[in-house]
Symmetry: C2
Subunit: 370 residues, 2 copies
């Protein structure tokens, strides 16, 4: 048979040059045709934002149209697609803060439109920490286990992941009978405007926990935490400082910033940006981050079971951080290490195999179904 | 910012030269890393089958392992991934019938392993048509509408799509409260071994309907049919000949084989193969197909509402077939035409926008939730 490939060429991997992992995008629910169109049609970085913002507005229009027709399920999905398009519009757009911030606001607004239409609904609530309002979303599975009270997993974003980004991941928890709660902490998403990355992320997790343990649909004894990338650091710190957390999963290990000098320049600038440092104060930002992100002084306080998943080929956070993390978890009731030999950062390149393991572990710890 | 793409290059579109649409694969649930690996690692057609069969066996091993650990949800998903890998192994592998048939058998066997683990379960049943056993799977939504009886949509495959391939599409119907039933007709999947493509596909749909209307969990007055590609032809024929079908969706219009000479040579050979003709009898196969697939004599019998979705850029079945289809549907209670201007075959390149419209239409007609 003669099999002649088409002449049209799409190289998804060109996106990696812009810090965007096509596997991650698809794993989190971005449609492949959009990812491929970005790879094909965006030839220089300055076109990136407009490409995704246009997609976002197009989805938003279609969502409004679907809503007008009474098609709520589709409308919810389209508002969420619009939100995800803006998420990627502003992604790593740190050189142009006004545009990034406009994208971040639009993204949050679009998710707020999607939230009541998702199944199960994402219920918005805000908690106050030191006078600042922290935005969070709770989704509770329709069929409750455990006498009407669902376990819950608190999902933490990292350097540039936010509370709006976990819809697909949440769905995997929800179908196993576990509620999900995602919020923006300091330096993340909506909260970036009032608070930059700072010491004491656990205060924000604990404030959200204060609200969750009061909810009649949740089992307050079965609340866990799971954090992605830098969020893995926040998750472990939260578990160390708040013994109400019954299980902790680090989707990527990050014990300290000893890898600062090995980070690529854009990632260093991004860290500095979310911590409120100008690009010309990178060295200072590095020292600040080294101090506030150092987990070693608190690791021995973790008593709950911990799961750590890390890609051996991670080029952002070296796999050596796993060893340092495990070494310090001397009082955790259990430590499970899942190093994926051919996995990259957050194992996005094996998402279909690695994410279900993460989900199953935390769900299993909290008494959900696997 | 300096954005230098990685040196690794993956051109997904090279797959199209092998009749495989990467958008379709991802839309139907194949993991992007697998699709990308096929594009990267399979350099000649003769390596294709082994690549996917290896993936399939790897998933099957992981599924067994997960099952041994009591992780049923993941095991079901992995058996289904294994099944999909074999689906693509044997896809268009018509030049080597023994290997293709081995792949088809393994695929069916792996789906049978997945079936009881899927949520909701896929319940296998067989109906007899002229002494031949026709394999079907039924999935019923957990939360039943309508006083405990769910509407149901019967899903028909086409030239090389089969009853195992619709898991994601089924999930979209199920979450809207509509049951799904998929079966292999003559020339398709498991049934190919006993029956080749032939006149009277509607006999098989009707035999399956005979079984479905007896089921206590289904509403026998709310059963519709939806067919993909060549299955769109079968769906309309079924609706014409069996008035129990309350709605009909053609995911691609195919009224007759007047496009035979415009089909690419591999597709002609594939049609001939499933109809039981040797590759050297293509002209004869064309005349046979022209006769048995001609819908025009029965179109006026269709009374139920009909939805037709077609990509204006379809290079397999020309969009002109839509006009011929609609012209003949003189007695249908409603005809909705959804031509997607930038859509390709079955609008796979806009799957995230076009499929929800198909789903919403059929679900809406059958009384499900949208």
């Amino acid at each position: 048979m003669d099999h002649t490939p088409d002449i049209r060429r799409v190289d998804l991997d060109c996106l990696r040059g812009w810090h965007v992992d096509p596997d991650r995008m698809v794993a989190d629910g971005v449609a492949l045709p959009d990812v491929a169109a970005a790879a094909r049609d965006v030839s220089t970085w300055d076109q990136w934002y407009a490409f995704w913002a246009d997609r976002g507005e197009d989805y938003a229009r279609q969502a409004e149209h679907s809503l007008g027709e009474g098609r709520q399920i589709l409308a919810g999905e389209l508002f969420w697609r619009a939100c995800m398009a803006y998420h990627y519009a502003q992604f790593f757009w740190f050189h142009d803060p006004p545009m990034r911030e406009a994208g971040q606001h639009r993204k949050a607004e679009l998710y707020e439109r999607a939230a009541p239409l998702l199944e199960p609904t994402a219920l918005r609530f805000d908690v106050s920490v030191a006078g600042v309002s922290v935005p969070a979303y709770l989704r509770v599975p329709a069929g409750l286990l455990d006498g009407g009270r669902a376990p819950c997993v608190v999902l933490l974003g990292g350097l540039e992941s936010t509370k709006e980004e976990s819809y697909f991941f949440e769905n995997e928890c929800l179908r196993r009978g576990v509620a999900t709660c995602a919020f923006d902490g300091p330096g993340q998403g909506e909260l970036f405007f009032s608070l930059k990355l700072q010491a004491g992320f656990e205060r924000f997790t604990s404030a959200v926990l204060d609200a969750l343990v009061q909810r009649p649909e949740l089992n307050s004894l079965r609340i866990g935490v799971l954090g992605r990338s830098l969020g893995g650091n926040y998750a472990v710190r939260s578990a160390a400082m708040d013994q109400r957390l019954a299980a902790c999963a680090a989707w990527g290990a990050l014990v300290d910033m000893s890898c600062w000098d090995q980070l690529d320049p854009d990632t260093r600038r991004a860290f500095a940006y979310v911590a409120g440092f100008e690009p010309d104060r990178l060295a200072e930002a590095g020292r600040f981050l080294d101090e506030v992100l150092d987990l070693r002084p608190v690791l021995s306080r973790v008593r709950c079971p911990v799961y750590v998943q890390h890609g051996a080929l991670d080029r952002v956070i070296p796999v050596s951080q796993v060893e340092a993390l495990v070494a310090g978890l001397t009082n955790a009731s259990q430590v499970v290490v899942d190093i994926v030999e051919d996995g990259n950062h957050c194992v996005h390149n094996r998402y279909h195999l690695a994410r279900p393991r993460l989900v199953d572990w935390i769900v299993g710890q909290l008494g959900g179904r696997v």
